[in-house]
Symmetry: C2
């Protein structure tokens, strides 16, 4: 195989597919990026068996063929080469020569034949979303997936399509995040659970442009993201997702409208008194026109007052400050509405059209005041 | 004690003195910053017994007094408060209230009486250097101090004053860095060894402005840096520094003039094939008009040619690539001159006036070609 392409194109392609290279694996071939120039295009592929990414890069094929190269070494070399044309030539025993200007690297490759290709997926009836929207939806929900594997379904996000509405849901047992978007067309009802890792990596690759589309394809076991020159294929998480409808409610006894930035900064300040995992709650005392926030730890105490607009009853309620911070951080509105029932019922942060809903369970704070 | 000052002034002061707060200590009082408002000024002090820093900040004293506050908590709080006036008030049992707008923090302090003051140093006949020059001199020499304590003197830098010349020297057994600067006045000959850690911290605080001065004072055991509103006092390293004159030489058999950036980029690329501590040498083959660089490891091989201007003999010589990179990185000249005697003698990188001299020992590379 002999190909030539610009450093910038190669760096971009390698950086995209590298997202699917496993950090730990018992199969050394998976630590490689496959350069496939057996046809008329140059295709880079990486695949950790759960998640596979391939991308096509511009370039010229002088001699058809393919080679698998260690992803880390190859990407280090490509990044450090001068900003010019790079020639990659593989020879006997998969020895590969990478040349750019007067710099020559010689590294050992592996047979492309040994590489695990991405599963073949029939691509029909895609769901189309803008890159911007998909990236935003992931950012605004991904923080509340569970960070351990004890319940596999909690490590993924529900994609729930119904008519022209896509609802994306994540939950970890303490909170639920829901984002609802309108699609341009109407689709058959479908529910799938996409691994959180896949969404995190896809979101890193998405350009985030509003006028550039991602096409999503679903099969029984896989989801495919197709955008720009890139295809991402991921396994789905099997099983039926949690029924969240019964946990949602529109009733409330107290409604608070608050400046989002002010509330976020205040909770952020408060948390410097607590260590991660400390489980010290922040106590919120909702009164007319004013909300008092208090936190107490062995390092000291903090309290602060914020002006609010209140409807309904006064309330004293405690939260894990991290959960409030996570939700407030991804809300783009200047003002946020918080709905409460009582000190033991979940708090809802949502906008009027419910394009986002964040449910957060309160914590017990007896003795913490 | 009750003082009020602007957040920006307090953040700046805390960040300066924090450089002298030890990360590990058995004396909890040393983990504190002392706020001393017993006179007409507000002074912050930190002191790890080797290095002490005090700085004066602007502000108003409502009630004289002093308090020692945990450096980490205090600096976290100050940084996260709104950008406005901060009031610090200490009361009974050293409980301290930090207020800014509607945010109130209450933390425990310690008695300022227990704090270790900086040693009193008679400040006479300072040596004056611009902040810019001192910062540059440290940057251009600090990388070649030894990173372990096996020889205490190697962890410091020699400050060698003689007439109107200040020579700063560091060495680690494999290389020597020398920077020579001209002072505005002439001073008595004096040699001292300043701890590397002190220089690293001082260099972080220096603004680096060319028209702002640092005054250096020396005693038998201490050096004092006085600049802006800050005083840094450090112990010196005891003992007689290495005699480096006998290792320096102006003879050479080969002289190479090379584009510094090109050489640096080439060696930087080469090192991605070697792990830190791998001890794989880079082999340099100096010929007429051209220098070839080669490196070989289990990851692969790299070679590259660079155009040079050569005087004298051809030469094949090996180096630890890191040592070349460290020296080349801090040289500001576009072209660098390298002087060689033979494959077993040190290489010198220096400018014509010898304002900088970098001596690097070659390594054996039998079998590495």
């Amino acid at each position: 195989m002999k190909i030539r392409c610009l450093k910038s194109d190669l760096v971009k392609g390698v950086s995209i597919v590298s997202k699917a290279v496993p950090t730990k694996t018992t199969m050394p071939i998976l630590e490689c990026i496959l350069i496939d120039a057996t046809t008329d295009i140059i295709k880079l592929t990486a695949n950790d068996m759960e998640l596979g990414i391939e991308t096509v890069i511009r370039g010229q094929i002088d001699e058809k063929g393919m080679i698998a190269l260690d992803a880390r070494i190859f990407s280090d070399i490509v990044r450090k080469l001068p900003d010019n044309e790079i020639v990659i030539e593989s020879g006997v025993n998969f020895q590969t020569l990478i040349t750019c200007e007067k710099a020559k690297f010689n590294i050992s490759g592996k047979s492309g034949e040994d590489f695990s290709y991405l599963p073949y997926i029939e691509r029909e009836n895609p769901v189309s979303i803008s890159q911007f929207t998909l990236k935003e939806v992931i950012r605004q929900t991904i923080f509340s997936i569970a960070d351990n594997d004890s319940n596999k379904l909690m490590t993924g996000e529900l994609f729930d399509m119904n008519g022209d509405i896509l609802k994306v849901v994540s939950l970890d047992g303490h909170r639920i995040s829901i984002r609802k978007i309108e699609l341009k067309e109407s689709y058959e009802p479908k529910k799938i659970v996409v691994p959180g890792k896949t969404l995190i990596e896809v979101s890193k690759i998405l350009s985030g442009e509003a006028d550039s589309e991602v096409r999503l394809y679903f099969t029984a076991n896989h989801i495919v993201f197709e955008f720009d020159d890139t295809v991402v294929v991921s396994r789905l998480i099997e099983g039926e997702y949690f029924r969240i409808e019964q946990m949602l409610s529109n009733d409330y006894e107290t409604k608070v409208r608050i400046n989002k930035r002010e509330l976020l900064n205040c909770i952020d300040r408060a948390t410097l008194l607590v260590k991660e995992g400390d489980k010290k709650p922040i106590i919120i005392n909702i009164q007319d026109e004013m909300m008092e926030l208090k936190i107490k730890s062995e390092k000291g105490t903090m309290d602060e007052e914020i002006m609010i607009t209140k409807e309904g009853k006064d309330l004293l309620i405690g939260f894990n400050p991290k959960f409030l911070i996570d939700a407030l951080r991804v809300i783009d509105d200047e003002e946020a509405d918080l709905y409460f029932m009582n000190a033991k019922a979940p708090c809802f942060i949502k906008d009027e059209g419910e394009s986002y809903v964040y449910l957060i369970l309160p914590v017990n704070f007896s003795g913490a005041v």
